[in-house]
């Protein structure tokens, strides 16, 4: 034979070498596709956050009118604020105080504001122009003025500088969130109001001030500029309290049972499959469960945070059980054997040795579960938490909304120019809360990370 081994070897090497360039090109292409996928993911995060921040951050500052208001004694004809007298029952006092409040509500606070605005503009407004004038301010501001006076009746007869919210439309106009060149017919404000708004803005009477109302007020339909998140925030807080109080103990207990005590039988298998499945059941199904069982069957009140909390608890349980089990499983059996070996009972072993070691993992899982519950919307819509609520709920049984539901309600508001920003601001608040929870979980994980 003419072909030596060495020649054959060379030939084979050449064959391989010839194909190499193509294979390496494929390799590069594959890697680029992967990088593109990662970049796309990251870019989407950036776009999402950027677009929401860009829209939402300006909404934390709101057009606010700083003007002197004269608490005119001729307008404010009100008895002295009642004080509780000796020997008077709480009930009797409440009645007297209530009557005084009613009297205060009947006073024409709007006229005080009208006068103040006339002074600020230096004009005498005819009554048919009053609408244009009042369009400058949020309609709820007369109540703000009333509350300010009720708090401090000594203001009577004095002139004080007060801070009044400009109306939503003025805010939109001044921030340029509406096309200023639109014809009058398509503008929300009359030409007169627009001119006044610009004048006040130039003179520094209308300023862009940090919007405390966003945090301190509840939702408002009549006065969009003063709509705030306080009610939704309390609602979410109550729900999270219910979730923490129920889902963490129950979740941890059932994880401990399944991981440490449960006999290996069909029933345990069933529970396990069941939990894994519950973790993947759509959240809206939990809403249906809440509507039919908690509200329909047990007769719990609609729109109450306690019901929302219960629904979210059931939804969060699987997450907490699964993460707790994972962290229990990561504790090496040697720890259990050591404790059992010196005569501890099974229960003592678990509660004295295993659980404390698994605590960081349990905490992390619970926090992540709670963060997830905090952002959940769909099930809450089905148990009536999308109702309009004008008060901050005082107990978990009162009507309330929740932060994500408030976002849902605001995004659907007709006053889009204003509420697009307001919604984004609410989203920033919600994301801020959730990200801090997530950061806390990551920090805990890093801090207590143990390698066995």
């Amino acid at each position: 034979m003419s072909i030596t081994i060495e020649q054959r070897r060379q030939h084979r090497l050449m064959t391989i070498e010839k194909s190499l360039a193509k294979r390496h090109r494929k390799e590069t292409r594959f890697r680029r596709v992967g990088l593109a996928a990662v970049t796309t993911g990251m870019a989407l995060v950036i776009i999402l956050f950027a677009s929401i921040l860009a829209r939402g951050v300006p909404a934390f500052w709101q057009s606010t009118v700083y003007t002197d208001v004269y608490f005119d004694p001729e307008v404010i004809q009100l008895d002295e604020k009642p004080r509780r007298e000796d020997g008077e029952t709480q009930l009797a006092f409440d009645e007297r105080y209530g009557a005084w409040l009613t009297q205060a509500s009947l006073i024409n606070w709007q006229s005080l504001i009208d006068n103040a605005m006339e002074d600020a503009l230096g004009v005498d407004v005819e009554s048919r122009q009053l609408r244009d004038l009042r369009a400058l301010l949020a309609s709820g501001e007369r109540f703000a003025l009333r509350d300010q006076f009720i708090e401090k009746p000594s203001l009577l007869g004095q002139t004080v500088e007060v801070k009044l919210l400009a109306s939503a439309n003025v805010d939109v106009w001044i921030k340029g969130n509406i096309d200023r060149s639109l014809p009058d017919a398509r503008q929300q404000l009359s030409p007169q109001t627009r001119e006044w708004a610009d004048r006040l803005s130039d003179e520094g009477i209308i300023e862009n001030a940090f919007s405390t109302s966003l945090f301190l007020n509840t939702d408002s339909r009549s006065s969009p500029a003063s709509a705030g998140l306080a009610g939704a925030f309390m609602g979410s807080l109550f729900m999270m309290m219910v979730v923490i109080l129920l889902s963490v103990p129950i979740g941890v207990a059932s994880a401990v049972y399944l991981e440490e005590f449960a006999p290996q039988n069909r029933l345990t298998d069933l529970i396990e499959i069941n939990i894994n499945n519950l973790a993947a059941v759509p959240s809206i199904v939990f809403g249906l469960l809440g509507a039919s069982i908690f509200i329909g069957y047990f007769g719990l009140p609609l729109s109450a945070p306690v019901v929302g909390g219960l629904v979210l608890t059931l939804m969060t349980l699987p997450t907490i059980i699964i993460t707790t089990r994972a962290s229990l499983r990561s504790i090496p059996p040697s720890i259990r054997q050591a404790a059992l070996g010196i005569g501890a009972s099974k229960v003592q072993t678990v509660f004295h040795h295993v659980l404390p070691l698994a605590l960081p993992g349990i905490l992390t899982g619970s926090i992540l579960g709670i963060a997830q519950a905090l952002g959940e919307t769909a099930p809450l819509l089905l148990i009536g938490m999308n109702a309009f609520v004008a008060n901050v709920p005082g107990t978990p049984l009162e009507q309330s909304t929740a932060l994500p539901v408030q976002i849902y309600l605001w995004q659907g508001n007709e006053l889009r120019n204003f509420f697009e920003a307001r919604t984004s601001a609410a989203i920033i608040v919600l994301l801020g809360l959730m990200l801090s929870l997530n950061a806390l979980a990551i920090w805990l994980r890093k801090k207590f990370e143990t390698r066995w």
Binding site: I16, K26, E27, R31, V33, G34, A37, V38, G41, M42, L44, V45, I47, L48, S51, I52, R55, I250, G251, A253, S254, Y257, I271, I273, N274, N276, L278, A280, V281, P282, I284, V285, F286, G287, L288, L289, A291, S292, I293, G296, L314, L317, S345, K346, A371, Q372, L374, G375, E376, T377, A378, L381, G384, P404, I407, Y408, Q411, T423, L431, M434
Partner: protein, 459 residues
């Protein structure tokens, strides 16, 4: 408020009982000069449990049953003609007014004489009920306490008993998950059956028109409740979402697991986790104000009419939402492929991508398919994104640039707003929910079985 006081008292008594058990067991030990079976603390706990648990159980049963009993008694006491003349709803309202009156508060329009009488009756019953509850609880507390205290002896296996109670409590907690599932199935089935008494299942499952009409009180105009347009919309949106999420998610997972330098992994992993933690309502809003208008203007440029809210918008954003889900599941599964397999291929001279495509991915295939099924189940059950961005147009059509409606959107639409809970217009939500539950359950179970098999293969 009095309930809270009652429970607080009970807890205080339990604390005292604990102390009693503790000192008593010590005394017994000293008296007989023997070692007790368990540490004193266990005797304390056991005495406290004997003292408190029965009373607590009674309290729970009582607060569950008593109101219903009282309501029944009050209803009986009302004039018969009156009760007979009222519909279920009116009776409910009347009872609510009576209970408000019984609490000593006023109702709109003042109460009628009958209502006032009933309210008096109710208030009296409440007093009796409260007193008897307290008395019964006190009996149980004393009985339990005496029994337990008398039993304290060196032979009494207090620890074992306490541990049995603890184990039982733990087991009870894990039963919550079972009850949840049972609750879901029963509530859905119950309400769905009510719905099917109005509309035949065939009409529901095979109908091609969705037009439920609004139910104006008592009007007999029944709408059409065809599931197919909604199911079709759901499938369309989910398919688009998966077309976005699966390639990007899988390639991300591969790149992160096999190629990414450490610094990039350290940045990108948390960022993607953040993406997974964002509430769906935020994605929905994002779809509505950014992606929708963007797609629409792209459509203008290339000459296709794309609606701002469409199957495409919703699907695309839902896909973005599922990317981290797919990538983290795939990542888990890819890293479970043993290193020895990779080494085998690399040792033969395969390039990295050849190793991944020809060895790692085929080996991980079952697991990855499981992950895709879970992703699909998530897409099908997603609500807020489609509520905001799909446009709610329950019509059978094949155009992804048009608005569609899905099962979840319709559930929300039918159950929000002021609707009669007993009308088919509301009840259909449960039939839809049941359908959704069965679909996702099927996907989940298949996925879980597949993934579990896959895991066992490499354990």
């Amino acid at each position: 408020m009095s309930n809270i006081a009652l429970i607080a008292t009970l807890l205080v008594i339990m604390a005292l009982a604990y102390h009693l058990g503790l000192t008593r067991s010590r005394a017994v030990a000293a008296e007989n000069d023997v070692r007790m079976h368990s540490r004193p603390g266990y005797y304390g706990v056991l005495v406290a449990l004997w003292c408190g648990l029965p009373a607590l159980v009674l309290f729970l049963l009582w607060s569950f049953l008593a109101p219903q009993l009282i309501e029944m008694l009050v209803t009986h006491q009302l004039p018969h003609e009156l009760v007979a003349s009222m519909s279920g709803r009116e009776l409910e309202t009347t009872l609510r007014r009576i209970s408000v009156l019984a609490e000593g508060r006023g109702v709109a329009g003042g109460g009628s004489a009958q209502e006032l009488a009933a309210a008096n009756h109710m208030a009296r019953l409440h007093t009796y009920e409260n007193l008897s509850l307290v008395a019964l609880m006190a009996v149980l507390v004393v009985a339990g306490l005496t029994y337990a205290k008398r039993h304290i002896s060196p032979q009494w296996r207090a620890r074992n008993q306490v541990e049995r109670v603890i184990t039982f409590a733990l087991a009870a907690c894990s039963a919550v998950a079972i009850f949840t599932t049972v609750g879901i199935v029963l509530s859905m089935l119950g309400e769905a059956l009510k719905f099917f008494s109005f509309i035949s299942p065939a009409e529901f499952f095979l109908g091609t028109t969705w037009n439920p009409r609004f139910n104006t009180a008592g009007s007999s105009a029944q709408g059409e409740f065809g599931l197919l347009p909604l199911l079709w919309g759901t499938m369309m949106v989910s398919a688009i979402a998966l077309l976005v999420a699966i390639p990007i998610g899988l390639m991300t997972a591969i790149y992160m697991a096999e190629y990414a330098p450490r610094w990039l992994r350290n940045i990108a992993k948390p960022v993607i986790e953040v993406l997974a933690g964002i509430p769906t309502i935020v994605y929905g809003f994002f779809a509505l104000i950014v992606i929708g208008p963007f797609l629409s203007s792209v459509g203008d440029v290339i000459g296709i009419n794309i609606r701002t809210t469409s199957a495409l918008t919703a699907g695309l954003v839902m896909g973005i939402m599922i990317i981290p889900f797919v990538s983290s599941l795939s990542d888990d599964i890819i890293t479970q492929v043993p290193k020895s397999l990779r080494d085998g291929a690399l040792g033969l001279g395969a390039t990295k991508s050849e190793t991944i495509r020809q060895v790692v991915l085929p080996a991980a295939l079952p697991g990855i398919v499981g992950a895709f099924l879970l992703a699909a189940s998530r897409a099908i059950g997603e609500t807020m994104i489609v509520v905001l961005a799909a446009g709610n147009n329950p019509v059978l059509h094949g155009n992804p640039f048009e608005a569609v409606s899905t099962i979840t959107v319709t559930i929300v639409n039918q159950l929000t707003g002021d609707m009669d809970f007993a009308s088919p217009q509301s009840l259909v939500a449960f039939a839809l929910g049941l359908t959704l539950f069965v679909i996702t359950l099927g996907l989940n179970v298949i996925a879980l079985v597949v993934v579990r098999k896959y895991r066992q293969q490499y354990e």
